[in-house]
């Protein structure tokens, strides 16, 4: 709503407090409205189903500050805070505030984050209107828009970043470069100790400990990434430099930790005021923890290169296991079934890619896709196309059948069954192997026809077996290529006609 509104020439001019106040009014007003989204979040909490905000169940203001802290704490590093990082952190804090209702923690975290993202207004910027009354007579309304947190699409997925306004107001220009911050804090702590400003020194020492922990975590993350995938970090230039700097820094810090501890310990021994003694004790504890962090960090730094070398050997030089050496059920399927869906997808997709071969990824262009989807349907064909005449003669030859001369020879052999004859005798005649095979199969078919095998009924075997009855003789065929119970073959009725079909007499 920019521009002049409410022009009232006759209205009395409002006297302002002072020119200096007017000059800084805009800046102070902006600071004021920057906190309004959080106030609004608290006011609207009940609508989001979060009850008891004012009764000490959840401190949404504290959670909002924590969200900004988490986001800013990750900015400037390789990986910013993801939605899940922030939501997890907030849910853990909500759990500490009201442990009795674990079902509410995720909703509380969501509400806070959505409030900071201005979810109520589709994640647009927060907009407020400043009334500039520096001109006499009229107020000029100036819109002021800002974000507190916003989402960015990155290689890690959606991450959160804090706006300049949020950082300036809520963090007072906290330096996010951990190593520099650590060193700066050390200087501040030294000065405060020398000035015997112990309360301030305790706060500084606490901050120094946090930054040391952060540095340690960053290094741990890099080493973990190296263990997972040696190519994910730059071990040729970037990481060796960082390790060298970090090692030098840690060596200095360990020496300074001892010096600070000695200094405070000395003050603790000689100080008589109970308040100062208490604060000094806190500082000693904090410095002790920070020293432990630095020692731990030094240990990691010393072993960092070995981590890289081991990972390289394992991932690059190490012989790859061959798939056929795996038991797919035990080594692949069962472990994958036990994984969460996202982890399982990593395995199954890689497996599918290798198993299915090359697939061309399909990409979309907005206009082309919409055009295709909205394309008018094709008009139907006026007439059905004439059916193609199949002028190719059907191939009736059975490639698995017997040659006609073999069938004829077998028929001659089986003709002797009209008077009843053992199969062994028929097989004993001087016939070719193919003829003998066909005779044997026909005898078997006559003995045990398969009523469901329509194809066999029309085959050479079915044709030859028509009219034959086979009964076991009790003897055994042992000679030649055949072996088994002998059968007595008898023809029932007339000789087989040229259009044979064995009726199933079940």
């Amino acid at each position: 709503m920019p521009g002049s509104i409410g022009a009232a020439p006759q209205a009395p001019v409002v006297a302002t407090a002072s020119p200096a106040a007017d000059a800084s009014a805009r800046a102070r007003w902006r600071s004021l409205v920057l906190t309004d989204p959080i106030s609004r979040l608290v006011r609207n909490a009940a609508h989001a189903g979060i009850l008891g905000v004012d009764d000490g169940r959840y401190d949404l203001r504290r959670l909002a500050l924590a969200a900004i802290d988490v986001v800013v704490g990750q900015m400037g590093f390789a990986r910013e805070a993801t939605l899940d990082d922030v939501l997890d952190a907030l849910a853990r804090l909500a759990a500490r505030m009201f442990p009795e209702r674990p079902d509410e923690w995720p909703a509380v975290a969501q509400t806070v984050l959505k409030g900071l993202l201005n979810d109520a207004h589709d994640n647009r910027r927060f907009t407020y209107h400043f009334a500039d009354v520096s001109d006499s007579g009229t107020a000029r309304w100036e819109p002021y828009s800002f974000r507190l947190l916003s989402l960015r699409d990155t290689e890690f997925g959606p991450v959160l970043v804090a706006s300049d306004q949020a950082i300036t107001l809520f963090l007072h220009g906290l330096d996010v470069d951990l190593e520099d911050a650590d060193r700066a804090l050390a200087h501040v702590l030294q000065r405060q100790l020398e000035d015997r400003r112990f309360a301030a020194a305790a706060r500084t020492a606490a901050q120094a400990e946090r930054t040391s922990v952060g540095l340690s975590a960053t290094l741990a993350e890099l080493l973990d990434a190296t263990r997972r995938d040696v190519t994910s970090t730059d071990w040729t230039a970037d990481l060796p430099d960082r390790l060298t700097r970090a090692r030098r820094h840690v060596e200095e810090r360990i020496a300074e930790d001892d010096r600070f501890l000695e200094h405070v310990q000395g003050g603790l021994d000689s100080e008589v005021s109970p308040e100062v003694r208490a604060v000094s004790g806190q500082i000693v504890d904090l410095l002790g923890r920070a020293k432990q962090v630095h020692l731990d960090l030094e240990k990691r730094l010393v072993g960092a290169r070995d981590v890289f070398l081991a990972a390289q050997v394992r991932q690059r030089i190490g012989r790859r296991r061959r798939l056929r050496m795996l038991n797919l059920a035990e080594d692949v399927l069962e472990p994958v079934l036990a994984l969460p869906v996202t982890d399982a997808l990593e395995v199954t997709e890689r497996f599918a890619e290798r198993a299915l071969g090359v697939t061309v990824p399909r990409l979309a262009r907005f206009d082309d896709l919409v055009e295709s989807l909205w394309a008018a349907p094709r008009a139907p064909e006026p007439d059905a196309p004439p059916e193609e005449v199949d002028d190719v003669p059907a191939d009736t030859d059975d490639v698995q059948g017997y040659p006609a001369e073999v069938v004829e020879a077998a028929r001659s052999v089986l003709a002797r069954a009209d008077a009843g004859v053992p199969l062994s005798e028929l097989l004993g005649t001087d016939t070719s192997d193919e003829v003998a095979e066909l005779v044997a199969l026909s005898a078997l078919w006559a003995f045990a026809p398969d009523p469901g095998d329509e194809e066999a009924d029309g085959s050479d075997v079915g044709f030859l077996a028509a009219g034959l009855v086979a009964v076991p003789t009790g003897a055994t065929i042992t000679a030649g290529a055949f072996h088994g119970p002998d059968l007595r073959l008898t023809r029932v009725g007339a000789a087989p006609d040229p259009a044979p079909r064995l009726e199933d007499d079940e």
Binding site: D153, E155, V360, V370, L373, W374
Partner: protein, 238 residues
């Protein structure tokens, strides 16, 4: 494009970068080869030329290089272009509604031209998109839009918002399911990601989608829906 002969190692690197762009799940994390090549593309004009030329030969175009990686789009009819056959089998009505929802999401997320330059990515919810489209097809002036878009709007208005299956899920034939399907397709394209931590139906539109829509010449339907969205935003601000 310069006419200087390209070094073969550059050609290989260019091909690798395109390969990374085609593999949607690869991310240019710090220290990776993908990041190195992406930085080269951003900073070396000669390498950029090689990549662009190679992409052109493959029927692709480089639309941009946001943090999440290089964004490639296909030339129409090229080997990488999405065909209707790549989508699930749909009847005519379903195709029209799918297109309308796609346009609706674009209008909802980017009502103003300035939004295309804003790196802030958008969160959308299935129900919010459905409600917006239902309101928009009633409120928009569709007099000048394409016939098929008008037909899509009429079908959308006729469809129920929600029909449930026996198992309590959204059934085909309702608009919420249609929106859900388009969102799922966008996820498959790398144009959106599920933001389940913020709600079961919440999606995060990526820079990929922003660049796709920014690249669009636009349609009358998109203009009409964006106008409705702008009006709604103005009303909410007032």
């Amino acid at each position: 494009m310069t006419s200087v002969a390209a070094d073969l190692t550059e050609v290989r690197s260019a091909a690798e970068l395109i390969q990374f762009g085609l593999a949607r799940r690869v991310r240019p994390v710090e220290g990776s080869e993908y990041r190195r090549l992406l930085d080269r593309y951003r900073g070396e004009l000669r390498f950029k030329d090689v990549v662009d030329t190679m992409a052109e030969g493959l029927g692709l175009e480089v639309l941009g290089t946001p943090r999440a990686g290089i964004v490639l789009v296909p030339e129409p009819g090229g080997p990488f272009a999405t065909r209707l056959g790549d989508l699930r089998t749909m009847d005519q009505q379903e195709k029209l509604v799918f297109g309308l929802v796609l346009v609706g999401i674009a209008a909802y997320a980017y009502p103003n031209d300035v939004d295309f330059d804003d790196p802030e990515t958008r969160l959308i919810e299935v129900t919010a998109i459905e409600e917006f489209l239902r309101t928009a097809v009633a409120a928009a002036d569709l007099g000048d839009v394409e016939d098929r878009a008008r037909a899509a709007a009429e079908i959308y208005a006729d469809l129920p918002a929600l029909v449930l299956t026996n198992t309590g899920r959204r059934a085909r034939g309702c608009t919420l399911r249609a929106v859900e399907e388009v969102c799922a397709w966008l996820v498959g394209q790398g144009a959106a990601r599920e933001a389940t931590s913020l709600g079961p139906d919440t999606f995060h539109l990526t820079d990929h989608f922003r660049l796709l829509v920014a690249d669009s010449a636009g349609t009358a339907a998109l203009d009409a829906l964006r106008s409705v969205r702008r009006d709604a935003a103005t009303g909410a601000q007032a």
